[in-house]
Symmetry: C2
Subunit: 186 residues, 2 copies
């Protein structure tokens, strides 16, 4: 229901009706609506983290970059609601259970930044770019933009007309990343 109708549109009473309980019964198992949503999302977030752990072993930083992008896109498209919760809500829940930030194997952003640090050290980057933080933010932003637009567009087209002839998200994301990396490296 969260994925189909969105967080706001899914009411506690509607959830309770679905499982033949009262809304108040839910509060004996979860402290709040937010915590319920979070509990549902946590499993999938951990799956993303472990996928990153696998990728961490790849030697070539640019190849690792491609793979981490792929995994990220795959996650966002498979779990749009979780993605929305994590990166598109004004009140992001900072500390998702079991995901400590700062640890590259679990924190997507720090992982991405480290890749660029290695690429910089290896002399693979164009001279005008020297800031790993900036490079990471560029890469993340471009993918996030495509994914978030696809997610809100998907929600919007359920309730009306479609405006733009959207191309396949996964394919466009890959080709965009290729172009961006081509423009950043030498």
């Amino acid at each position: 229901m969260f994925v189909r109708d969105g967080y706001e549109a899914t009411t506690m009473r509607a959830i309770a009706d679905k499982v033949d309980y009262t809304a108040t019964a839910i509060y004996h198992h979860f402290r709040s609506k937010e915590e319920l949503m979070l509990e549902l999302a946590t499993t999938d977030f951990r799956a993303l983290a472990t996928a990153f752990g696998q990728i961490g072993r790849i030697e070539d930083p640019i190849e690792r970059l491609r793979r981490v992008g792929e995994a990220y896109v795959e996650f966002a498209l498979a779990h749009p609601m979780q993605y929305q919760l994590m990166f598109m809500t004004p009140h992001p829940v900072m500390t998702v259970k079991g995901i400590t930030r700062g640890d590259p194997s679990q924190d997507a952003y720090a992982f991405l930044r480290r890749i660029w640090e290695e690429a910089l050290a290896a002399g693979r980057v164009r001279p005008e770019y020297t800031d790993a933080e900036e490079l990471a933010q560029m890469c993340w932003s471009s993918l996030h933009g495509l994914l978030s637009l696809h997610i809100v567009k998907h929600n919007a087209t359920q309730h009306g007309e479609q405006w733009i002839a959207w191309r396949d998200a996964g394919k466009t994301a890959r080709r965009m990343s290729e172009a961006l990396v081509r423009g950043l490296t030498r």
Copy 2:
């Protein structure tokens, strides 16, 4: 109040209190909360549209692309709430007053697509990219990603810790666009 606290957090009663009226008084001037917000946003949206009209006269498509990106970024950073309303909410208000879609001088996306159509016709694009729609979506997405992350990060940091060492949005946007365009053109 909409810009400072966000759309949801700004209640009709709070707005009414601020101007020493009752909440119901507002409904004699605006049909709903959404229409009130829209009325406030419309002025700024038109400003963006006219800015695009000015840029439309530039000959070189790539130079025009740079300028349209600049104007877009400037708008988003100056009017974060309007930007959020337009591109980041699941229920986008499709028909903003005075902005008819499909018209390149007013519709940002169609404008961007036309630029790439011209660039393709002029042979300025790498052979692996032949779809103006895809090219437009890549450019728009990358800027949107950076801007939307900055906007939600700005909202988030008001209520707590900051997570990422964000670089200046305008500068990063420009350098990212440069890299992307470099990777797309020849």
